[in-house]
Symmetry: C2
Subunit: 137 residues, 2 copies
């Protein structure tokens, strides 16, 4: 019952970037050091974020990363989607596959409310919202 490491790292990275979005560019070495994320793993994640259009990268000397979109327009759920970590409506606690209309699992009804709360939390938290909140380590 946890997000993948990739998702967790990505959210932390982007939240940190949102904290420091005044500084033009942030590079992988700095991000990895200050966030205690393995450098090579971080660059892999950053490339995903670039490909999905949340972030742009400037290559070459003095390069780094910055946001492509406004931080108020990037929701945590957008980040989860990139790493296949979204909570889907059809997904159930005892799903393994999925609960469908014909066959509701034993915890189907109990799951409805927590699921909605989780989805709400991810869909309604923008990077702007969580910037400055908490430490990012």
């Amino acid at each position: 019952m946890q997000l993948s490491n990739s998702s967790q790292y990505a959210i932390r990275i982007l939240a940190y970037m949102a904290d420091n979005k005044d500084s033009k560019l942030l590079n992988a070495t700095e991000l990895a050091k200050t966030l205690y994320i393995p450098y090579k793993f971080l660059t892999k994640i950053m490339t995903e974020l670039v490909k999905s259009g949340l972030v742009v990268s400037i290559r070459g000397r003095d390069g780094g990363y910055k946001f492509e979109k406004k931080t108020s327009e990037i929701m945590v759920s957008d980040i989860l989607a990139i790493f296949n970590d979204s909570i889907k409506n059809e997904q159930c606690v005892l799903g393994i596959g999925f609960c469908n209309g014909l066959c509701k699992c034993a915890l189907h009804d109990q799951w409805v409310e927590p699921k909605h709360l989780l989805q709400k939390m991810f869909q309604e938290s923008s990077l702007e919202d969580i910037a400055g909140k908490g430490c990012k380590i």
Copy 2:
């Protein structure tokens, strides 16, 4: 954001057993067939359930499994504990390790309510409660 397959299977198995607790014993072959769970994986799970005292096994011909405790006294949270799938208080969404008092992650506050709901759902659902509810496949 999902329970392990072992936990999901275990809950489904035990819920099915609770549905049929009038029949003296249920054996692995039958359980595997009716619940579409790989036989060998199911027996592995059952052995865990026996070791943890939720279920007793009768070995040898005409053997099988039955509950050791009352179904009203077995909570879903007890099952999760066996497979290290419990939702711990200290565990946070962006935890990877854990959020501690000094360092609260960016989603720490948003996580409090869904976490409690999840814990509540697991701690307050007994096998008796969910028996007969939904199909078990």
